[in-house]
Symmetry: C2
Subunit: 213 residues, 2 copies
């Protein structure tokens, strides 16, 4: 069985492949948009590992929360590989990938920059690679987030968190990407059903509805 | 100024490039030897970023501790790029790279598998990206290491640490690779002076001297 999983919910591209009990992974962080970099990087990764897209049995994709354009590029790319042979795709919440990749157990908040003055925040308890959701990803104001971080003892990972006294840390390990894809295999869907995890309206949508000036 | 830094002290290849204030990084983990994979990966990385080896002003290389063959491949590759124009190379201790890439402050032990029954271990205090060496990397028996880990409250990162109740975690961030190269710029040496950090005799050497059966 060959599994390919990827995540484009952050500025970094995370790729992972599993074949015959072996894990391969690649990560790239630059300044090009995912639209420019993802396809050639994936092509190089698959050639390096010696796998053709048609040989992949199962796909995994990080569905966010995160940058909507990057997420869409990742999802479109997986659809492009999965649709010709109608191969299944497993949607994986990106915050789970980050929590599971964090090296320590305990209460972990994943915080990502959303629109100005707001953050995506999800809170989890992790023990021995088991995750319990304490607070599902939602959009929270900087002020509310700041209070929650002060009140509660937890690890805080993510980006834009310098103002709360933490350093940016956004990592997804290849083993976790593959592991979560396989663990959630019964949640697999067809390529036409896959979509990003929307937890806020897009700015364009809000402008259209007059909620944003 | 263009800086290229890499680390091959672990099974993962870490590459980082800095140009005009911008950071680029790539990471690959597979099952090929560094001797097979490093050169083509580096070539792809430099082409992706659009840099020719001759344009690089400064090189950084993780000198270990770690797998000696992998370290030598990394060092030989950097020498290959630095020697034609006699560009300087900054040797960087790999354990410092791992400690600085770890997302939390505190006392941190880096533990790597050495020969059977033994580990490399270095212990550090980290605060705000400043490192204090508590115990320089040395070879320590499993028993001594186990006692030290039980006695002292610290984060333990590395590989082969499952028996001490920790999960393997070996990460080096691109920003840290470049940051340490630049911070140590006045420790730069010529290509003919660079060598890996030996902290144990090679098994061949020990056999030769009759210290190992």
């Amino acid at each position: 069985m060959i599994v390919l999983s990827l995540d484009t919910s952050t500025p970094t591209i995370f790729l992972a492949l599993y074949r015959d009990g072996k894990h391969y992974s690649m990560k790239y962080k630059g300044h090009e948009k995912h639209a420019v970099r993802l396809a050639p990087l994936l092509d190089y990764f698959l050639k390096t590992v010696g796998v053709s897209p048609k040989d992949i049995d199962l796909f995994g994709i990080g569905i966010g929360p995160g940058g909507l354009t990057g997420l869409r590029i990742g999802i479109a790319t997986v659809i492009g590989m999965a649709s010709p042979f109608n191969k299944p795709i497993v949607p994986v919440p990106s915050f789970h990938l980050m929590v599971l990749s964090f090296p320590l157990d305990g209460r972990i908040a994943v915080v990502r920059k959303a629109r100005k003055g707001f953050f995506y925040c999800g809170i989890y308890d992790k023990k021995n690679s088991e995750i319990r959701e304490i607070s599902l990803p939602s959009v929270i104001s900087e002020e509310d987030l700041s209070q929650r971080i002060k009140k509660e003892k937890m690890f805080v990972i993510g980006d834009g968190i310098g103002k709360f006294g933490y350093k940016d840390y956004l990592e997804i390990s290849g083993e976790v990407l593959i592991g979560e894809t396989l663990r959630r295999e019964d949640e697999k869907v067809s390529y036409y059903e896959i979509k990003p995890l929307y937890i806020q309206k897009s700015i364009a949508e809000m402008k259209l509805k007059g909620e944003l000036s």
